[in-house]
Amino acid sequence: MFALDDHLVILPILLPLATGSLLLFVNERHRSLRAIISLASAFVLIIAAALLVYRAGLVEEAAGELIATYPLGNWPVPFGIVLVADRLAALMVLLTAILGLCALLFALARWHAVGPSFHSLLHFLLTGLCGAFLTGDLFNLFVFFEVLLAASYGLLLHGSGSARARAGLHYIAINLAASFLFLIGVALIYGTTGTLNMADVAAKIANVPAADRGLLEAGGGILAVAFLVKAGIWPLGFWLTTTYAAASAPAAALFAIMTKVGIYALLRLSLLIFGDAAGASAGLGQAVLLYGGMGTIAYGAISALAAQTTARLAGSMVLVSSGTLLAAIGLGNQAVLSGALFYLVSSTLAISALFLLVELVERVRMEGADILAVTMEAYGDDEEDEAEQEIGSVIPRAMAVLGIGFAVCALVLSGLPPLSGFLAKFAMISPMLNPEGLATPNSVTPQAWWLAGLLIVSGFAALIALVRTGINTFWATLEEAPAAVQVIEIVPVLILLGLCVAMSVMAAPMLGYMDAAAQALYTPAGYINDVLAAPLAMPEAMP
C-alpha cells in the first residue's frame, strides 16, 4: 500500500538526494536538460514542503503536536532512527525549499556554468538541510550536518579563485573542529542516557543519577558549542563574514539558512532535552545564549557599520539576525520565541535577497566603470560631458528595480514599518516588556530592557549602513551605463521580497502558526509521547 501521505515526511530528503545523484550522470554539455531536471525537482520540493506546512496547520491542539513520525526501516522507535515533522520542522523545510529554488533560478543565468556539478551540490545541500530539520535522532543529525557541510564546502568553492579557496580553507578547518565537538557531545549524552533518540533522551534525562549529571551537562554544553559555531555566535563567528562575502551569490543566498540550522538545533535540543522536565539540568546554558546573542547583535551591528564592501555588509546582517534569534531563545519566554520565529523567516528571506542583490549591484558598478573607461580611451574627454548630461535624466530600468529591491531589503532588515521586519521586532519586543500579558502590571527584567534596546539600536545601525550603501550605489552612479541584468536574475529577488511583503499582509495567520509552534516547543511532553509511541507501518505482518 503506497500512499503519498504516508511517505510525505521523507520526500524532502529523498527527492533532492535522488536529483543530485541523477544529475551527476547527466553530461555537463546538456545544460538545458540539467537545468530542467534541477528546476522540476526544486518545484516538487516546494510543493511537498508546502503540503507538510499545510498539514501542520491543520493539526488540532488536542490531537497532539506532531504532524507525522516516520520510523526508518520500520524499526521500533527508541532503537531505530525516526523522522519527525512538527510545525517548526515543516516551516524550516519550506523555507529551505524556497531559498533553494530562488538560488537555483538565479544561478541559471550564469553561475551554474562556471564550475562543474553546481546542480548536484545544491541538491545535496538541500538534502542535508531538510534531513537536519526532520530527523529525530542525535547521531542522524550529525550525519545530515556532515552532508550539508560537505555540499557547502563544494558550493563555497564554486567559481574558484584565490579568495574563495582561502576562505574555504578556514571554513572547512573550523567546521571540522566543530564536528569533532559535536561527536564528543553526542558520545557523552549517549554514555549517560544510553540512547540517541532525542525524545528518548528527553524522557530519560530526569532519571540520570546525580553522579553522571556533570558529564551529561558537559555533553550538552559541548554539543551546544558545535551548534553555536555554526550559528556564528560572538566570539565564535569571526569566520562568517569573510566566508559569506567570498561565496558566489547563489551559494551565499543559500548559506543564509545554514546559520539557522545551528539555531534550529539549539532551539530544538535546549527546549526538548533541557526543558522544565529535565530536573536539575533544566534551563542549561540559557544565560550563555542570552548574553552571547546580545554580544553577537552588538558585534554584527558594529561590523555592519564598518563594512567596506556590500557583501561583507550582508554577512554582518547574518550575524545580527543570528544574535537576535539566540538572545530571544535565551530569554526563555514563549511569546518572545513566537515573534522570533517570525523574525527568523522574515530575516532569512531578506538576507538571501540581499546577497543576490549585492552581486547584481556590484556587477552594474563594475561593468559601468569598465564601459566608461573604454569610452574615455576611445573617444577622449569631450564625449564624457555629453554622456553625463544624457544619462543623468534617465534612470535605467534595471537600476530602478534593483534600487526598489534594495530599499525593501533595508526596510525589512532594519525593522522599519510597514514591512515584516517591523512586525517581527514588534512581536518580539512587546512580550519582552509585557511578560505577563498586557492586562496585568509587569515587572520587566533588566535583561529584557537591554535586549529590547539592543534590537532597536542594531536596527538603526543596519539602517545607517544599508542607506549609506544605497546612496553610494543608486544615487551616485547615474552617469553609468544600464546594467546587464537578466530577467531570470531579478525574478528570484522579487520572489523573496514578495514573500516578505506577503508576510506583512498575512501576518495574523503566520503569527498564529508561530504561536502554535512556540507553544509546542515549550510543552515537549506531547512531542516525546508522540515520538515514543510512533506507529510502525505493518505491526502485525511479522509472525
Binding site: F139, V143, E146, L149, A150, Y153, L157, S160, G161, S162, A165, R166, G168, L169, H170, I172, A173, L176, A177, S179, F180, L183, I184, V186, A187, L188, Y190, G191, L196
Partner: protein
C-alpha cells in the same frame, strides 16, 4: 586499561589541538586527523570498556553483561568514514590554496 585509554585520548587531543593552532596547513591537517582519532576512541569509551566480549547479541540471550555495546562501534565506523572523507576534501582545498597563494601558510601569505 581505563588509564591507558584515557592517557591515549588525552595525548592525542593535546597534540591535535596544538597542531591545529599552528600556521602551516600541513600541521593543521595532521592536527585534525589526530583529533579525529581521539574523538573516535572517546566514542568507543562511552560504550563502556569490556574485554573479551562480542558486540553481537544472539537470539534468546538474556545476560546483557556478557556483551559489549554494539552501538558505539557502529557510530565510530560512521564517524571514521565521514572524518576520512572530510580530511580528503580538506587536502584538496589545501593543495588549491597552495597553488593560488604559492605558500602553505593558512592565511595564504607569510607574515
Amino acid at each position: 586499561m581505563e588509564l591507558i585509554l584515557a592517557l591515549a585520548i588525552g595525548v592525542l587531543t593535546a597534540c591535535g589541538v596544538w597542531l591545529l593552532l599552528r600556521p602551516r596547513t600541513f600541521q593543521v591537517i595532521i592536527g585534525l586527523s589526530l583529533l579525529s582519532y581521539a574523538v573516535n576512541l572517546f566514542i568507543f569509551g562511552m560504550g563502556r570498556l569490556r574485554i573479551n566480549a562480542a558486540p553481537i547479541v544472539h537470539h534468546g540471550a538474556v545476560d546483557s553483561l556478557a556483551f559489549a555495546d554494539p552501538l558505539p562501534q557502529a557510530l565510530v565506523l560512521t564517524a571514521i568514514v565521514i572524518g576520512f572523507a572530510m580530511t580528503a576534501l580538506f587536502l584538496v582545498v589545501m593543495l588549491a590554496v597552495r597553488g593560488f597563494a604559492g605558500t602553505d601558510h593558512v592565511d595564504g601569505r607569510e607574515r
